[in-house]
Symmetry: C2
């Protein structure tokens, strides 16, 4: 994907030329944007009566992504999708993006354009506007820092706290797909690259490279006040469930047989002789929503799932804090869940 | 400043432990912060009737700073001061900070704490609260990305556009000090480090390491609608003046003898046999404000300068675009100004 640029076009264009190009291409201002790219700060007119949601995320070459098996477009796409997912988890409507980008000087101008196209792709379908950023040379790899701003409905924002004993635990989509897709990409890269991919592999790779932030469901859950607590699955079910339990000061009984797995994921786990349940519990970057609701809202949730054509599955029940987080197996026995979030400063357990 | 940590304390604390520590120490929520650090996004209650100002800035080891001659506290301090200065240039009131930070694993926990203390120091004197961020391992050096949010008075925000022919051009403080201070630090580092510093050197180094964002003046200029156009001096007078002229579609006649230079800066330039004027035009990172006002507002500006005990100097006049940007020398002759902004993707001219 990456090659030393033969033309020194980024050097010719310069930092301010690059900013001008990005501004012309993506920096269109909207009604609520008083000043976008091109000043010391962006100036925004907040929506009256709404709250402001803000989240920032880092994406670093060699840590969060590797260009050996994904394109610059892929890198951009996943970065923004993940950042948008934070707003989805709060039940908000994403509105504005700021992109701080450090790039090594061997990166070609067309590479930078691909990265920006990737960054802006998930934004465009949600009407999110680019309002600012910063650019710099990097002496090592690519470094992307995104800040997303959105609006929340006052008093309706979903937080990690708020889950109550007796609530039901739900999750959207299927789990573990993204981690499996990443693993396929990684091993393909290490082995022969031209090898034809099996259909289930193609599906899982797509789930890794093109995650879908659950914006519409998040907004609906917040608007109708269905969810008591919510989080997006970036670190993996076991880790993110722990975050939710810690903030809500509760425990959870998770039902092993209920955890939604795609047929493609099952096929992959069988082929690789991996424990599919373990993989689904630990696999991060699915960007599905995990939330709790009161049992009386199950019907309303079923309607939402149907209206949005999005599978939503009940996977457990909120218990008192002392219960901890336990997995109920099909034989009725309990297992302590190995809690494993991706922690940048600790040694990770290999897949 | 930096040494391999003997204890593996960051690894012991882990990413989530570090976030918890930062949250406990700096993440105190205020009245307008519905949710700060510790959720998928921060939730803020915007000030009714105000606009929202947002700016993001990158600070990369080896590019924006070098730990050979500045401490981690210094790095943090300068980063936030520069980010706050963007809000000052818009005439806004800074309110919230998000810190995205990538750190190499050899950085000690006490080093990270120093960096955060530096980051938060300029915030505390302006009541700016830390509301979120992200942390990651870095495979190379330290990488800081800051996002500052502030409020503007609707319709009073100062932009780079808006300067009109006949306006007077003003600047706060003295110019070139920071660049000279940096140069002293750099050469000290290369030469003997223990050498006793002359008093003017101490002054210039302090001007580099502890820049003062001109928040109070910015707010006053905006509130009273004194300034037509404004920018902060991060790239250097010649470069930032060009940005202002481009956005306002005007030219400027700059008066050489009026450009404010500190006596310490003059002493330094004389000692080093450097062209002080050239140095002041090109020297970046002063974080002073550059702005234009209508001549009828000179008196009001004089009052503001006195009230804030901040020297403000008239350095030129706005001309039509065709005039370009010219420097009027003491002999009455004009010189084209060598326009030189710091451009990350182009070769820089050496000091």
């Amino acid at each position: 994907m990456r090659r030393p640029s033969r033309s020194r076009s980024l050097q010719n264009l310069g930092e301010f030329g690059l900013i001008r190009e990005i501004r012309n291409r993506f920096g269109k201002v909207g009604r609520s944007i008083i000043k976008g790219i091109g000043d010391d700060a962006a100036v925004i007119r907040p929506t009256p009566g709404s709250t402001l949601l803000v989240s920032t995320d880092l994406f670093i070459e060699g840590i969060h992504f590797h260009l050996g098996f994904q394109s610059l477009f892929d890198v951009g796409y996943r970065a923004t999708a993940s950042n948008l997912s934070d707003i989805a988890a709060m039940g908000g409507c994403p509105q504005y993006l700021l992109v701080a980008l450090a790039i090594p000087d061997h990166l070609s101008l067309s590479g930078i354009r691909k990265l920006y196209r990737g960054l802006m792709h998930p934004c465009q379908s949600h009407g999110v506007k680019l309002i600012g950023g910063d650019t710099s040379l990097s002496q090592s790899g690519i470094f992307v820092s995104l800040t997303i701003l959105g609006r929340g409905q006052s008093g309706h924002e979903m937080k990690r706290e708020g889950a109550k004993v007796g609530d039901l635990v739900y999750v959207t989509g299927t789990l573990g797909d993204s981690r499996a897709g990443l693993h396929i990409l990684q091993t393909r890269y290490q082995q022969s690259r031209g090898q034809r991919k099996k259909p289930y592999e193609q599906f899982l790779i797509k789930r890794h490279l093109r995650p879908t932030p659950r914006i519409h469901l998040g907004r609906l859950l917040a608007k109708q006040r269905l969810a008591k607590a919510a989080i997006d699955l970036s670190d993996g079910l076991s880790g993110d469930l722990r975050h939710l339990c810690e903030e809500s000061k509760v425990g959870v009984e998770l039902w092993a047989k209920a955890i939604p797995l795609s047929s493609q994921f099952r096929a992959y786990a069988a082929q690789e002789r991996l424990d599919s349940l373990q993989l689904a519990l630990m696999g991060g970057e699915d960007y599905e929503l995990l939330f709790t609701i009161s049992p009386r809202n199950q019907n309303a949730l079923r309607h939402a799932s149907k209206a949005l054509d999005l599978p939503i599955t009940c996977i457990g029940e909120v218990k008192a804090k002392g219960f901890g987080i336990r997995l109920k197996l099909e034989d009725g026995l309990y297992r302590q869940i190995p809690i494993q979030s991706y922690d940048h400063f600790r040694q990770q357990q290999a897949l």
